[in-house]
């Protein structure tokens, strides 16, 4: 479980997050929904320690994370897996080396054991026999799946996904969503997903937090989002022609 308490963040005079307090549940897919510029990525960067908040705290299972010195944060960081928007695969390495990287850094497993784990993770994301492919040989969907395999290689307790569907076709998007959802339940991970994709919301939105202009505007789940009377959320949900027609 991750608790975010009263987070404020500004860049100069521009306030990008205003008093955000939210709890991300363990074993659930927790979505942070909002249009571009609403502060989703900033909130995720604060949760992962890549940005410091102006005030407020982040707790990982009651362990305070904000404002800790880097050396003390490392223990918590090693329990995180992050899927970045572009995958952020190391382009000097092939698929196998990318997935093996956290195992090389943090475990004392033998080469054979590490290889078994890599193959298991690659199989889990339906990429068996892709070990030796270079990152420039991968499609967008494959990159995301390798990034997921790398994120789960070290058995994380917390999985952060920043717009996992961006730039993917609908079918691949569904595959990625299903994969994240299955992994979350299977390993009882606390998963936080930044998205503005309504398909993802309807498929895997167990807990939804809607950000609007840097504020937490609405909380709920995929069933209540379609019947909400919150105007800003309704505008967001029914922004496309397709959703308006479906309504």
């Amino acid at each position: 479980m991750i608790k975010v308490n009263n987070i404020y963040k500004s860049f100069g005079d521009k306030e990008v997050l205003h008093d955000i307090s939210v709890t991300f549940e363990q074993g659930k897919t927790n979505l942070v929904l909002g249009q571009s510029g609403s502060g989703k990525t900033i909130l995720m960067r604060i949760c992962t320690g890549l940005l410091e908040p102006n005030s407020g705290d982040v707790y990982f299972n009651d362990r305070r994370f904000s404002n800790l010195p880097e050396s003390k944060r490392r223990d918590i960081r090693r329990e995180m897996g992050v899927l970045f928007q572009g995958g952020a695969l190391f382009d000097s390495m092939n698929v196998e080396e990318n997935v093996m990287f956290p195992l090389n850094m943090f475990t004392r497993l033998s080469r054979g054991e590490k290889l078994d784990r890599v193959n298991f993770c690659l199989k889990r994301v339906n990429l068996e026999n892709s070990n030796k492919l270079r990152t420039n040989e991968l499609s967008g969907g494959m990159m995301k799946r390798v990034a997921i395999a790398r994120a789960i290689a070290n058995n994380p307790k917390y999985l952060f996904c920043d717009e996992p569907n961006s730039g993917l076709d609908p079918k691949t998007s569904e595959l990625i969503d299903a994969l994240i959802s299955e992994i979350t339940e299977e390993y009882n991970i606390t998963t936080i997903i930044n998205t503005h994709d309504m398909n993802s919301v309807m498929k895997i939105g167990q807990h939804i937090n809607f950000l609007y202009k840097g504020q937490l505007w609405w909380k709920g789940d995929k069933n209540s989002i379609l019947t909400t009377d919150n105007n800003e959320l309704r505008e967001f949900v029914f922004a496309t022609e397709l959703t308006r027609r479906l309504r």
Partner: protein, 244 residues
């Protein structure tokens, strides 16, 4: 300016620490040896031979006097190559090749969030990325400079032989005259300082890239420009300090 110097010192403080996994560090180091060092042999060889030859021709042209013995051409060529040409000029050439390579590699990793990925995993990204490059440069550039000294002197020998400026025997006698081993130490001290400048300044510039491909290109250019300026500046300081 002061803020940038402070940021540079902090980054080096983070980078130059004991690596958490020695085996991973060694793997990175070997990779850097190849990508920064081995691939530079050819350009160093070509430049050294030709500039050594040109140095011998210029010395012969400028001291064309019956009062000065022919062996002076070998002596002056050797001194030029050891004291200035190999440690300074070759390091400036290497700043162009390695500086842009390091700044653009680390800069690209920054803009594609690869450095963020390292940090989120709890890895000291500066230590993981920068330290192997600095160590590789500190260990390999001196090897390149020694190689360059030999080839520069050999270039002068070839010029004397092919163009019949002086006899090769006189050239070799000049090479062996008034040799002061301190000159080699002086060249190596300069090389080590310049190697550190090339690796650390380019890494700092690449590490602090913000934006996209345009900024990576700019960082690559800045890596070369700042490294070259600092090399010239430290050349003056070190020459004054060590030879005065």
């Amino acid at each position: 300016m002061l803020r940038k110097i402070g940021d540079y010192v902090i980054l080096m403080w983070q980078a130059l620490r004991r690596p958490p996994k020695f085996s991973v560090f060694m793997r990175q180091l070997v990779r850097e040896f190849y990508s920064l060092g081995v691939t530079s042999f050819l350009i160093v060889a070509i430049l050294s031979v030709f500039v050594g030859a040109v140095a011998a021709i210029l010395v012969a042209y400028n001291i064309d006097s019956p009062l000065i013995p022919d062996k002076m051409i070998g002596f002056v060529t050797r001194q030029m190559v050891i004291q200035e040409f190999s440690p300074t000029i070759i390091c400036i050439i290497l700043a162009g090749k390695l500086g842009s390579q390091i700044a653009s590699e680390i800069g690209t990793m920054r803009v594609t969030q690869q450095i963020d990925a390292l940090q989120v995993m709890g890895i000291n990204a500066a230590n993981y990325l920068i330290m192997p490059k600095i160590i590789a440069c500190l260990l390999f550039i001196p090897v390149l400079i020694v190689f360059s000294i030999f080839l520069g002197i050999y270039g002068g020998y070839v010029a004397c032989d092919v163009l019949s400026i002086i006899s090769t025997e006189d050239y070799v006698i000049g090479l062996r005259s008034w040799f002061d081993p301190w000159m080699l130490t002086f060249a190596m001290i300069k090389t080590l300082v310049f190697s550190f400048i090339i690796a650390s300044v380019s890494s700092y510039i690449g590490y602090n890239v913000e934006g996209g491909s345009v900024e990576v290109g700019r960082a690559s250019t800045n890596g070369v420009v700042y490294s070259s300026i600092l090399i010239i500046l430290f050349d003056l300081i070190l020459t004054q300090m060590l030879l005065s």
